[in-house]
Symmetry: D2
Subunit: 319 residues, 4 copies
């Protein structure tokens, strides 16, 4: 192997930059060049690339997002697009490809792999919904972002003895909502994995009011309900008025946490090692505290589930 | 003077706690007791109060919100409520009253003053719309909160080359929107003080796209438009797609900035000094870098305006 | 079991408060009372305790340190002290004891266990030097504190093209130094686990100067050398001048990270469950991503070692 | 005027980058080119410069330090150096020069001005010791850095009931120490402006111990004493043991606060306007809330003094 292609794709996640940096450093250490494509698979189609060297990664370790830019590329879902991508990989003499991104990006990576190119995926997605890794790049930073903001909102909630409903990201996964509820001692978490009982939540709040615990936080994953829906139901069922905050894109921004920087470094380094050892068509991840590779098709066929005891824990701690 | 009443009222603002602390310390230093009422004017009506001493202020200097709690009190707008409030001040032998809050709270303070009680107001409002002070308590912290979050959103905006529209607080004042736009180098600020020209903003963005500057931030004060309205217009006029974030209550939370802590300390100390020197029916504020008192009726009759050159500056720096 | 004693001991660590909160919530859920002793084993000797209930834990989840206070207690190393402690446990009808702390505190816990009381330990120590858990309470927060500060120092380092030597905590363990070096892309980490070669480090810096990479960060664990020693050697060997910063106690302060809050919650809950299920004389920890209990004597007999590949990774990324 | 030279000099300060950005934007708006010299006066001597345009300032507004780099230049103190600098200004057709820096840098600027070049200074120095501005660039950020770290150390101080002595920057000025002591509610501030009475400080701490207020913070400006000296005296006079933290360079790093970004923007814009209106040999600053220019020789002849009432305030609030 002499040259390896690299791209970041799908939603950006903090930790992608430290991962890019590690890939470039590990590659140079081993005498390999990194051909970096901009804007994910779009750049692969447009052949928008450059040889990325160590000085290009200077100062990026502490920056959120991805300096290689990202996008969602419709054309790449079709055969013509995929062929064009392969053509550009060959034109740039790339013997392998590393794709940092979420489920959709790994699906794109697999189509490349199916056409005979050695591909390794790195999981980047704040939702933490990717099978084959305990934590994806960006999850820990997103959690810290959410928790910091809920802490701030609690200042107002307790000063005014109000109930706040906070909507966080997570279309298919309630991980962010559940874990941030535990970390902030919130009174309830509403997630897509578990049918939620609005009567029970309302009863808990009413009990709290009785013992003069007048401020409440409910965290809701966007995949389960909107914060406005929850607010309307609380009002209808129990006459509880509430304020709504939809956290939005701030969740995925900001300087990566230490955890995401180190995870990015380890996965980036491991991705290079996988390619060099001849293993590919896999995703590197953190499995039970160890770096491990899982075949991409297994990653794509399975749904990540989180420890159910977290749900019970949130319940107990929210009382 | 032997006893002074204290309450926080209206929207909570970071800096209220350091101000409360300073009032208690300055009062004890001068042999005066502070009678603290909970929940603003509501607590005054309910006679919900306690003697607040130095140990009660331990650890509060770094906390957002107000440990005395706050509320908006409808009853106090009527004569019966006001008489009840006065009665409770007398019942607790209070010779004076300090009210920390915004315009509405100062209006409440004035009705007390009109009935012969010595009253001093302290401006607390993140909107910075109170006449008689260059900066109200909470403004600097709110600005830092907003700027930190916009910095975070810029990570995603630049990674995906997107346009974000960010809605910040400010019903009657565009101060937060304007200053945070300057501080983040945003492409446009939309504020209630200036009629905004959507065509001009769209033209600026289109020009930027031409020179490959593909990510944009527009900050909009809630008093001028909603972020969704701005987004729809951008799309209609110029076909520019955008993402929306409504910052909400996180803006007023969080540990107070150094500026707000020191401002709170100075204003709290000054409020006690005003009362002791026999001057009252005034609001203490920061005027041209100095602590100064302004009669409450002048505060209420005038609207704070900010330096117009900031508008030109935002224009120049957003290019 | 009706009553369980709780104390925090040794160096304080962020995450202790969320752990205390979880212990109290889990206990109340199961109909058990928590008898909280202040100041660690000192408070146990002085019988300084109170029944801790859910409202006592309000607002503590986001606070660093430990609200139960901590200390290092000399008297408890002797038999008389230990007997006094046992006496007070019995006097308060405690059927079990939870100790949150580091190696020394677990040793104290074991002496109690040896006298027949059911004891469960929870690892709290920013050094991450406790066997039986992948991460102790406080490590993740401390790492984030260190990394944030190194990021700040890099602003000056790069503006002035200077070399900074930053001394971090870690008497017996280089974990904090090593991981923070990886997370900041530092040029070298000096840790007690590996003999360090000053000539090699100097050579690396000289190479960097040649390619105009003029600013450098070296992270040193206090257990390996002082920052001043490293600075003097750099100057002597290669004539490289440097600036020194000793981070000190800021490392262990600050609001706990999400990771530490969740770890604290899980370990606290697990500690109660251990006691209730009749298992004791153990420490609960996070082992390969799962909560698991390890006998205290095994914890104390073994030394935690970290993944050696981290050392190679730091080497590669620092180039 | 067609071209204006720009350099940053002396100690770096957060806010320099937003100021650089504003200078470039304001200049382009008015059809002027900015010739940016690297490494302060050293770069002027070496003729190390480039034409700086708006895209060069992309993404710098949120970064600490100075992207133009800085240095202390010995050669420029001598006539030969100054002549060389003037020569390079002429060689690059610069009609004016903007210098961002502290006292020493302004002294360098004056020697240029004395040789007939239009010069405007912008005050940048975290010490806040420059006459002619209420706040220099970097002061507000440094204060927030210090306060955040003291808040963190207070977690440990209160958990262990310890006394901490914290040394902050400020050779000739106690501004940072005094204001951060007020903002953290510290028990004492030791500053060069006021002779300090160690007996009195010790007496205050002993009184606090008596009423069980067992944790204390003393902030000391490096220009008044070292933290170690203070610690030794506390021990000798009153047998009080303490821990020491020297904050060091983290104080001047980090993303600039909103205040420093806006101050940088206003001063940068004002510097261009001064030069264009034919006024020079001055420093622009913030005087009583307004941007104003002061002749450089007056700036250099006078010492900035801060409001004495802050000293009394620190005293009252530290009780």
């Amino acid at each position: 192997m002499k040259k390896i292609a690299l791209l970041t794709s799908g939603g950006d996640a903090p930790g992608m930059n430290p991962c890019i940096r590690a890939i470039v450093h590990e590659a140079e250490e081993r005498g390999i060049e990194v051909v970096a494509f901009r804007r994910g698979f779009s750049g692969l189609l447009d052949n928008d690339c450059f040889i990325m060297k160590r000085p290009d990664t200077s100062g990026i370790i502490q920056r959120g997002g991805t300096i290689l830019l990202s996008s969602r590329c419709e054309d790449f879902k079709y055969e013509d697009g995929q062929k064009e991508g392969i053509k550009n990989l060959f034109a740039n003499e790339c013997d392998g490809l590393i794709v940092i991104g979420g489920d959709g990006s790994l699906r794109g990576a697999q189509t490349i792999s199916d056409r005979g190119v050695a591909v390794v995926g790195v999981p980047g997605s704040i939702d933490n919904d990717i099978y084959g890794t305990d934590m994806a790049l960006g999850v820990d930073t997103a959690l810290n972002n959410i928790v910091r903001v809920i802490d701030m909102i609690k200042d107002t909630a307790s000063s005014h003895e109000r109930t706040f409903i906070i909507e966080v990201m997570g279309r298919g996964s309630g991980y962010l909502a559940l874990v941030s509820a535990i970390a902030t001692g919130s009174e309830a978490a509403i997630i897509p994995e578990v049918p939620f009982d609005m009567d029970k939540i309302a009863a808990r709040l009413l009990q709290r009011f009785q013992r003069k615990a007048n401020s409440n936080i409910i965290v809701v994953a966007e995949g389960a309900a909107t914060a406005y829906q929850v607010g309307r139901q609380l009002s209808k069922i129990a006459g509880i008025s509430s304020k709504v905050t939809v956290l939005g894109h701030l969740q995925r921004g900001g300087s990566p946490s230490t955890y995401d920087r180190v995870l990015g470094a380890r996965l980036g380094s491991a991705a290079i090692c996988q390619l060099l050892s001849g293993k590919s068509n896999c995703m590197v991840g953190m499995v039970k505290g160890e770096i491990a590779a899982t075949p991409i098709d297994i990653v794509l066929k399975n749904k990540r589930v989180f420890d159910e005891r977290l749900i019970q824990l949130a319940e107990t701690l929210g009382n």
